[in-house]
Amino acid sequence: MNANPDTVEHDLAKLVLALIELIRRLLEKQALRRVEAGSLDEDQIERLGETLLKLEQKMDELKTTFGLQDEDLDLNLGPLGDLMGEE
């Protein structure tokens, strides 16, 4: 992140949202694994899905507020690849 006083707010928003997006994707991945494995009942699937849906919608709102696209939130995770890369 470049510590430019003119862009520090925007850069910080980008970093924070990127981290939130990372967590969101990890949670979603885990949820989908459990759905596929059949280890969740219908109520659990519904609650989990609703939560993840709301989280995705909130992220979209925040990205719009800060004028960010998906690719702006891409983080290089070193050996793990890009956040927005192949899962």
Partner: protein, 280 residues
């Protein structure tokens, strides 16, 4: 006051420049030497060089004019250093790497392969557990999760097909190449983008192999461009490497040469490097 220097390529110090070679704004191209190397540069005043097709092609023309004179390492478009001293310092900082790269790449050429497809959909990929009334009976959350699951399965199937196709292409083309670097599915329509490093003598065989490949896959749009200077294979400065996933199976291209395959319009505007203090 010393002017900024635009850098086109790295040469062996004794390499003569073509007579009358002129760069941006008609400035004379000259060399800045350091030990056994030299950088081919021209002065730049206060111009801001935009990544237009015209500017990209001029950069490319200079690099290609230098290569018949001797081994030359192409430098990325819009590499501008503060003055001649900064150029020499940059050569000093990466001297061993640049010498090794010049030896490894100086007389080699690069070809770029782009393969386009209509993303395939096969039976069973568009799965959702249940349909019609069963799906409608699900709540919003369940529908969201099941839809995500279906999307993931579809994407995984597409990646696997792309991977298989890339392997097949590689089998036929990489035998003619010294190295190749592949990016899988950079976009949904672009199956694979690969850069091949070749000895100049292998170019005809490589082009023949490509022609056979093209005929064998009528459903694909296979675009080959080159020969280019080997931008993709130049060792990037530390801290300037692309992420592993952008390399996919192999190291990715940090620089995409101007795209000749579509009649001259440049495709490098997304890959332009801003002014940096290091050379690559």
């Amino acid at each position: 006051m010393a002017s900024a220097r635009y850098v086109y390529a790295i040469l062996a110090r004794e390499t003569p420049l073509p007579a009358g070679l002129r760069g941006f704004n008609g400035a004379v191209v000259s060399t800045v030497p350091y030990r056994a190397l030299a950088a081919a540069t021209s002065p730049l005043q206060n111009e801001v060089l935009r990544p237009t097709a015209e500017n990209l092609w001029l950069h490319e023309a200079i690099v290609e004019a230098l290569r018949p004179q001797g081994p030359a390492l192409p430098v990325r478009f819009r590499t501008v250093l503060a003055d001649a001293t900064a150029v020499a310092d940059a050569l000093a900082e990466r001297y061993d790497v640049l010498v090794a790269d010049l030896d490894r790449l100086g007389d080699k050429v690069e070809f770029g392969l782009n393969v386009l497809w209509d993303p395939p959909i096969t039976p069973g990929e568009d799965l959702a557990p249940g349909s019609g009334a069963a799906v409608k009976a699900q709540g919003l959350g369940a529908r969201y999760l099941h839809a995500r699951l279906a999307t993931n399965r579809r994407e995984a199937a597409m990646r696997e097909r792309a991977r298989a196709l890339a392997r097949e292409l590689d089998r036929q083309l990489s035998v003619h190449a010294l190295e190749h670097r592949c990016t899988l599915l950079p976009t949904p329509r672009l199956v694979v983008r690969t850069a091949y490093l070749l000895e100049p003598g292998r170019v005809p065989a490589f082009q023949d192999a490509f022609a056979q490949l093209d005929r064998a896959h009528p459903a694909l749009r296979v675009l080959l461009s080159g020969p280019w200077p080997p931008y993709t294979f130049v060792t990037p400065p530390e801290g300037d490497e692309r992420s592993p996933s952008s390399r996919q199976q192999h190291d990715a291209s940090p620089h995409q040469p101007p795209d000749r395959s579509n009649g001259g319009a440049s495709s490098t505007s997304d890959h332009v490097v801003n002014t940096r203090e290091q050379l690559s």
